[in-house]
Amino acid sequence: MVLLQSVCCCGETAEPDEKLEKVKAAIEQFKTIKGALIPVLHEVQDIYGYLPEEVLKVVSTELNIPMSEIYGVASFYHFFSLTPKGENVIRVCMGTACYIKGAQGLLDRLSTELKVAVQGTTEDNKFTLEATRCLGACGLAPVLTIGEKVYGRLTPNDIPKILKEYN
């Protein structure tokens, strides 16, 4: 068992952290370009699903950018999340076309069915419910996405059936 653990330079043992290695590789890739912070944050979010504080500290050291500035940038953009999300992220499009065609009804129904507020995560960590900016699939309005899958031309009555797919 001891053999499987890697030994850190300070003498302490640490679990090999694949995700962190990926982040470091990404930092290495972007380090030389101007304005590297946002591309790096995109990579971190891709790898972890959100921006964990410990990882941002690594980014801060490697890119030589203070944490305060990283926090300023990370909190400015909607795309970045500083908190972890549920297993399935449900995004209800709140673009105008979807809104006019009843997206609010979908959001309300999801909120009732899942017993969770918008932008919240269910207690069992299964779903995060988000209202999102226009997804550009206006021809299918109203639209929601769960992970990569897109559901279009919906009515609130379709919600229970969709949720069942993930139970």
């Binding site: 940038v73 909607h78 105008t96 900016r133 021809g139 309005a141 897109v150």
Partner: protein, 625 residues
């Protein structure tokens, strides 16, 4: 590295293949080779067009007709409402809402036995038992596709197909035969104005940057399409990414830049992936890099992903974002053309603007300026959405009327409802009414009516849309997207939203209307950037054209469209109720009671107005009052 002669050779080779992708009027039985075009835009991909392509390829292989059929994944055809869309050439049969399970029938019927699959053929193309050319339908007939010229015609991931459609020919012409000033003069003369919202003359912008005597300059493409309901930039990047790359290179030559950036929304994964692939292909062909077409001209493009901030559509905010900072705008002057990205002269143009450049270079400024109105030249792509039959993407000449777009191309309002308003320009624009339907669409007319062209979102609203709620919706958006740098926008939009909330809750006063108007004008006049300067437009335009709806909310405490929850209640019509108990079982707050087979009753105090009963009732017995 390719030279101009190499491109010509590629064109000749690929042209033969592409010549089949048009309607030739050949009898179905006599067709030797067919092109099956499947839309691979975001809309159709969302309804599984990738699986349709896989199924098509499989069936074609099963029948052993690979040498007689090509299956092509293209960009957007425009008629997103009917997606997933499949078009079969040379007959030009337009199939709508195709599903994977239909593919065996389609391949066997049409491709093998020359009998188009009637049940999937677009209704509007059927007449007298015949299937007609889809280009003659109302949706396509009035369109003039310049920016979208290659969308739906070529496979966007194959550079040779772009080249065969005169791709990179304009770049060759510019680098070999034109001076920088000649390029700028041509674009100026064409009258092309920015398609991203501002409407500034593109050639002038280029001139300002070209006049700067600096070593380093940047050419930036704004693909941060944040307007909700607008998706033309995404469709161009998905359907014809090389047109943007070519135009950026031409622009880079004109202003003297050797580096370009495309700032694109991270929410557009397909567009990003196709753009990256296109850049890679262009580099391999030496159409980007150190010695383009052997002329010694150097230019390259990098992609930067946006991160979901609407304000980054503003050019100085966008540049801050590329620099890795919070995307907040700077005061102008200095204008980006003088002091832009990293302090260097920079030009920012929108995707659709770029998509017009190569045709202008090839066909000339006079040809382009012959289309459109006196001050708005060329065509404009609109994303038609909301309560309209044909939602989708349309490219029409400037100067067309709103009525033509909504009722002829768009097919009017679905379900026999009445037209109420059209919203143009997204959160920066305004709502226009029935009396404006015959106004022409151009930059100046729309602005004079209190709306704007914006990036080209066009949302149709019917009698079920509450205009106060729409204004509230937009203000909620701009309040959320305000970057917070300047007070009028940061605080003003919040106060404006609070007043709108009050009105939609039935707590508004007539004084609020005056206050809203005054505050709106302050925000317009005092905000730092265009986001704040235009944020009150949805409020001002609805106040102007739909004042009676505000009055109904304030005085009568009613929402005439039945949208604002605080002002409506649900009741069950005892005449229509069959006592099936479905509503009572679905009600989340146990507010509905009654006996099976007898009319049910809603307890209005316990009711949370979620509308579930209204949605589930099969007998239309639940009514909004």
């Amino acid at each position: 590295m390719k030279l101009l002669t190499d491109l010509e050779a590629i064109k000749t080779l690929t042209e033969a293949k592409l010549s089949n992708r048009q309607i030739t009027g050949v009898e179905a039985g006599a067709v030797g080779y067919r092109s099956v075009m499947v839309c691979g835009g975001t809309g159709c991909t969302s309804s599984d067009s990738n699986k349709i392509i896989a199924a098509l390829n499989k069936e074609v292989a099963n029948h052993g007709i690979e040498d007689k059929v090509e299956v092509v994944r293209t960009g957007c055809f425009g008629l997103c409402e009917l997606g997933p869309v499949v078009i079969v050439y040379p007959e030009g049969v337009f199939y709508s809402r195709v599903e994977v399970k239909d593919i065996p029938d389609l391949v066997e019927g049409h491709l093998l036995n020359n009998k188009p699959l009637e049940r999937l053929v677009y209704e509007k193309t059927k007449a007298d038992g015949k299937i007609n050319n889809f280009e003659d339908t109302d949706f396509f007939r009035k369109q003039n596709r310049i920016a979208l010229r290659n969308c739906g015609v070529i496979d966007p991931e194959v550079i040779d197909e772009y080249i065969s459609r005169d791709g990179y020919k304009a770049l060759g012409k510019v680098l070999m035969t034109m001076s920088r000033q000649q390029v700028i003069d041509t674009v100026k003369k064409s009258g092309l104005r920015g398609r991203g919202g501002g409407g500034f003359t593109t050639g002038m912008k280029w001139q300002f940057a070209a006049d700067q005597d600096k070593h380093q300059k940047y050419m930036i493409c704004n693909a941060d399409e944040g307007d909700p309901g607008a998706f033309m930039d995404r469709s161009i990047l998905e359907g014809d990414p090389h047109s943007v790359i070519e135009a950026m290179t031409i622009a880079g030559y004109a202003i003297g830049a050797d580096q370009g950036f495309v700032y694109v929304r991270a929410e557009y994964p397909i567009a990003v992936q196709r753009l990256m692939k296109a850049i890679k292909q262009a580099r391999e062909y030496g159409l980007l890099g150190d010695n383009i077409l052997g002329t010694g001209f150097k230019f390259d493009i990098d992609v930067r992903l946006g991160a979901g901030a609407f304000v980054c559509g503003e050019e100085t905010a966008l540049m801050n974002s590329i620099e890795g900072k919070r995307g907040m705008p700077n005061p102008k002057p200095p204008f980006p053309a003088v002091e832009g990205l990293w302090g260097q002269p920079s030009v920012i143009n929108n995707v659709e603007t770029f998509a017009n450049i190569s045709p202008i270079i090839l066909k000339g400024a006079d040809w382009y300026s012959s289309i459109g109105t006196e001050k708005s030249k060329g065509t404009k792509v609109f994303a038609l959405g909301g309560k309209v039959v044909n939602t989708g993407l349309v490219e029409v000449p400037m100067g067309i009327t709103l009525r033509e777009v909504i009722f002829e191309i768009g097919g009017g309002i679905p379900n026999g409802k009445k037209f109420k308003a059209i919203q143009t320009g997204g959160p920066s624009g305004g709502c226009l009414t029935e009396e404006h339907l015959d106004c022409t669409i151009d930059y100046d007319t729309l602005t004079s009516l209190g709306s704007m062209m914006g990036s080209g979102g066009m949302i149709v609203m019917d009698e079920d849309t509450c205009m106060v709620d729409v204004a509230r919706f937009y203000l909620d958006f701009t309040r959320d997207e305000s970057c917070g740098k300047c007070t009028p926008c940061r605080v003003g939009t919040k106060r404006l939203l609070e007043m709108l909330d009050k009105i939609t809750e039935g707590k508004g006063t007539i004084q609020d209307l005056d206050d809203m108007e005054r505050l709106s004008n302050t925000i317009k006049n005092a905000s730092l950037c265009a986001l704040g300067q235009t944020a009150p437009n949805p409020v001002l335009s609805t106040l102007k054209y739909f004042r009676e709806e505000y009055m109904a909310h304030i005085v009568d405490k009613k929402c005439p469209s039945g949208v604002c929850k605080s002002l409506i209640s649900y009741t069950i019509d005892p005449e229509l109720c069959r006592g099936c108990s479905l509503c009572a079982r679905k009600c989340p707050s146990d507010a509905i009671s009654g006996k099976v087979k007898e009319p049910y009753v809603i307890d209005t105090v316990a009711c949370i107005k979620c509308g579930v009963c209204f949605d589930v009732c099969k007998f239309n017995a639940v009514a909004i009052v």
